[in-house]
């Protein structure tokens, strides 16, 4: 069974590449460190996607509002108004997680070997006070830095 921290490493590398290559956010720092933790304080917007069948667990991405707005501005093709950016910033964070999680699944050993996986529709939490406590067996997080702000990626089972 592939190490859970390795799955988060794949997600982090894919996220960095996606933000740089597809969204043009070139100020992302390439270095990152994966930690096993007992709790985490979310940023202002957090999106979750759960996996079931041959892989079980939940991925999340957590960012502040300013980064989520920059992400949607860069995601939508062509010009986009401020109103649209404000309206779609949170939904776009979920779409970002959907893309990067979906993109890495075929690189995971169990799927390469013919396993199946079901991805949930993303769920969004808009509350930076929530903590994941010790309710899970495994909780890994990884923080990547963009313009001195953290983007938190996580995986728990």
């Amino acid at each position: 069974m592939e190490l859970d921290s390795n799955i988060l490493k794949k997600l982090t590398i894919r996220t960095i590449n996606y933000l740089k290559q597809d969204l043009g956010m070139n100020d992302i720092n390439n270095s990152f460190n994966i930690e096993k933790v007992d709790s985490i304080k979310y940023k202002e917007l957090t999106s979750f996607i759960s996996l079931s069948m041959d892989i079980k667990g939940t991925f999340f991405i957590s960012v502040n509002n300013a980064i989520s707005k920059e992400m949607v501005e860069n995601f939508i093709y062509g010009e986009v108004s401020e109103d649209v950016i404000d309206e779609l910033a949170s939904e776009n964070l979920s779409e970002t997680l959907n893309v990067v999680v979906g993109n890495i699944l075929s690189e995971i050993e169990i799927i390469k070997n013919g396993g199946n996986v079901d991805m949930s529709t993303p769920t969004l939490v808009e509350d930076n006070s929530i903590l994941i406590d010790k309710n899970y067996d495994i909780l890994y997080v990884c923080k990547i830095i963009y313009k001195n702000e953290e983007i938190i990626l996580g995986y728990f089972i």
Partner: protein, 130 residues
């Protein structure tokens, strides 16, 4: 120029796809946010091409994009449907193709790849109409 129906529960994806489709010189006739609404919109507008998200909230008996493909193909077997996926749901893509979808498009969507698939579907459509 071809006409399109976009079926996706994420408004941000519908807006993005619409802008790309229009950039390629085509027209989006309608958008839908569930598979059920997608089938109804297809029957009303009869677009040349449908883009269909796979994972969407269920409505009535249509639980996802694959069910919507079946519903559209039942109504019009020659319908041209492009599945839109981040590839994590590879088993579902295969299921959608077996159900009658014509092709699939990987997220993040690249304009050039969208153009390539659309052009191939239009060639197929023109051949079948000759």
């Amino acid at each position: 120029m071809a006409t399109f129906l976009i079926v996706d529960d994420a408004k941000v994806m519908r807006i993005n796809l619409k802008k790309m489709i229009e950039e390629l010189g085509h027209e989006v006739l309608a958008e839908a946010s569930t598979g059920y609404q997608g089938i109804e919109a297809y029957k009303e507008h009869l677009p040349d091409i449908v883009t269909m998200d796979i994972t969407m909230p269920g409505e009535r008996s249509i639980k996802d994009g694959i069910d919507a493909v079946k519903g559209i193909i039942d109504f019009h077997p020659a319908a041209k449907i492009i599945m839109v996926t981040s590839h994590g749901e590879q088993n579902k893509v295969i299921s959608a193709i077996k159900s009658g979808a014509s092709n699939y498009l990987l997220k993040p969507i690249q304009l050039e790849k969208l153009e390539e698939i659309v052009n191939s579907l239009l060639v197929d459509k023109n051949k079948s109409e000759e």
